[in-house]
């Protein structure tokens, strides 16, 4: 049953050459410590990369690429693989030239340099950032064959930053200040309205991800972190925070990021990300490559409303469910990694996972969502994902009865 199984007879007694013969790497020197001042993945991992779907947009400069979830494990997304979404391309900004302004309904309109920001108290939190459009191509039915494409608009990193509240208090929010406009310095001038309650709760003005400086495509030198809320609000290249008494209803909260229902009406300000999960392995890009026998199913679960105390997994299309095992830290508004191990009999499987969050919410089926929302709402598709596995271990994105 093993990929390393030997043929019988002489070969078996002799063994595999990679063992019985000294290999170059067992004998010859490798690279010195001066070769790679900033390291990169192995040459054998070149297939592990962000991928885009060209037909989604007119131009790669205002587009998206996807995290290769099927190649990852644990809960941390490496910075080099965190999906990208931007509306005017990745801005490359010299931190010395960057400023953050607070204006509007405050006692003092302020300008901060990056050095100023580094003098406020900081916090560290692991949070997921999910684009509201993640799985948006799947509203009408199974479409993209790979969890990178169906679920890869998400990343989960440790952010370091200053509490937004600290900065707002430094400026002094006037009693009439009920909303905040966050604005980016990139060519899209990204703006979103955020209610003051959230701004004063758990938002961060972050300059580090996974320990190091934000990556340019993630808003270097500074971005907003809006835990549990849709990724579009996490304004990158953050340059301005305006306090106001009403929301702004800008393009990204009217034309986009509003959820059109079947009756022609549209939900606005759908900020929270509902609990969701996906099996990352096996999945269409990562089929089972072994025959029957011990098999690991693994995946990710998260909720914009808290932690994930439980994930259920089915291998028979939902006739019977099993509680999965969660391994790794269970942190608020962070990805959780789950596993379900079983003995595969080699017959076709229908795999699904179902997240439960700490509010008691249970991830719905896609049809349950469609009943409420129709199929034209684009955003917030957190329905249960199904992978069909055939006898050869190949996986396909399907929907089931």
């Amino acid at each position: 049953t093993s990929a390393g199984a030997l043929s019988t007879g002489a070969a078996l007694a002799a063994g595999e050459k990679v063992i019985t013969e000294v290999q170059p790497w067992n004998s010859e020197l490798g690279d010195g410590v001066d070769v790679m001042p900033y390291g990169k993945p192995s040459e054998f991992e070149e297939h592990v990369k962000r991928r885009t779907v060209e037909w989604l947009t007119a131009d790669p400069v205002s587009s998206i690429n996807f995290t290769p979830l099927h190649e990852l494990d644990g809960i941390i997304t490496p910075n080099g693989l965190a999906f990208e979404r931007h509306h005017g391309g990745t801005a490359h900004i010299d931190p010395k030239e960057h400023r953050l302004m607070i204006n509007g309904l405050v006692d003092r309109q302020l300008v901060f340099t990056m050095e100023d920001l580094m003098r406020f108290p900081r916090e560290n939190h692991v949070y997921f950032l999910e684009c509201a459009a993640n799985s948006g191509m799947e509203w009408r039915g199974a479409q993209l064959n790979g969890c990178q494409f169906t679920h890869g608009m998400i990343h989960n990193v440790m952010y370091t930053g200053v509490k937004l509240r600290t900065l707002l208090e430094e400026a002094g929010v006037k009693p009439s200040g009920k909303w905040l406009l966050a604005e980016g310095a990139d060519a899209s001038g990204m703006t979103r309205s955020i209610p003051m309650e959230k701004a004063l709760d758990d938002c961060l003005v972050a300059f580090k991800m996974n320990g190091e400086a934000l990556r340019p495509e993630q808003g270097y030198p500074v971005r907003l972190v809006v835990p549990g809320w849709e990724g579009n609000m996490w304004v990158k290249w953050l340059r301005r925070l305006e306090v106001g008494d009403q929301p702004w209803h800008h393009r990204e909260e009217t034309s986009k990021y509003t959820d059109l229902l079947e009756n022609g009406k549209a939900r606005r300000f759908t900020w929270e990300m509902d609990a969701k999960s996906v099996i990352t392995n096996p999945s269409p890009q990562a089929p089972l490559t072994h025959k029957k026998g011990p098999t690991v199913i693994t995946g990710l679960a998260w909720s914009g409303r808290g932690t994930i105390p439980r994930v259920d997994v089915t291998i028979d299309g939902g006739i019977t469910w099993h509680q999965a095992r969660i391994s790794g830290p269970s942190l608020d508004k962070s990805m959780h990694r789950f596993y379900f191990e079983f003995d595969w009999d080699g017959k076709p499987l229908l795999l699904q996972s179902r997240a439960h969050d700490s509010t008691g919410y249970v991830q719905p089926t896609k049809d349950q969502l469609r009943k409420h929302r129709g199929v034209n709402s684009i955003y917030h598709n957190n329905g249960i994902q199904t992978w069909a596995i055939d006898e050869e271990g190949k996986a396909e994105n399907v929907e089931i009865s």
Binding site: A58, E169, W248, W271, P284, Q285, H322, S401
Partner: protein, 194 residues
């Protein structure tokens, strides 16, 4: 000073330079005006290569006009005219982000003119209309009332909460939809797809 005394006061010119956002109530509109005719010319010169002469869209670039009454259709066409709730959004967005690749290069009068033109293309104002900071608040878009505040808490959360079935939840199960038949996944998808 605040608790920490960090940062410095923004100067009036600095606030003016960055405080360009516009709200539905007209807050933030710069002084200025522009009419449909001027807007047409500006649009053809600066915008039509992507959005089409009438905002109908070129290739996959965004469609800016049409789609009236399509929101309940199988394939709704969501445009300024058919979907957007506020005209202020249009002014604000053109001023901050368009033309794509040359953002923040238009003068206020130009933004008024182009906005007027796009409102005209969307049957909101007539051919002779001149838009200005003074009459801006008279513009109403037809779909405004169809937006409502997120009601998932009332409509969905309760239904989606509670202990789900774990055993014998169905008699049988069948595949109803397949991605392979749709076949729109990038070929170079990695793993077994190659």
């Amino acid at each position: 000073a605040g608790k920490y005394g960090l940062g410095r006061e923004a100067t009036p010119d600095e606030v003016k330079a960055w405080d360009i956002d516009v709200r539905p109530d007209g807050t933030g509109l710069p002084k200025g005006k522009g009419n449909v005719e001027m807007g047409e010319e500006l649009f053809i010169d600066n915008c039509a290569s992507c959005h089409g002469d009438f905002g109908e869209g070129v290739d996959r670039w965004p469609v800016l006009s049409g789609g009236h009454g399509s929101l309940k259709d199988e394939r709704p066409v969501k445009t300024i005219g058919s979907y957007w709730p506020y005209a202020s959004t249009l002014f604000d967005y053109i001023q901050r982000a368009m033309p794509f690749g040359a953002a923040q290069t238009l003068e206020p009068d130009e933004v008024y003119a182009i906005t007027a033109y796009l409102l005209n293309m969307n049957d909101v104002v007539d051919d002779e209309f001149e838009l200005s900071d003074e009459n801006f608040k008279t513009i109403k878009l037809e779909n405004e009332e169809n937006f409502f505040m997120d009601d998932r808490a009332d409509k969905e959360l309760k239904e989606f909460t509670g202990e789900p079935c774990m055993k014998e939840c169905k008699k049988s199960v069948e595949i109803t939809k397949r991605a392979v038949i749709v076949d729109v996944t990038p070929e170079e998808g990695g793993g077994a797809l190659e």
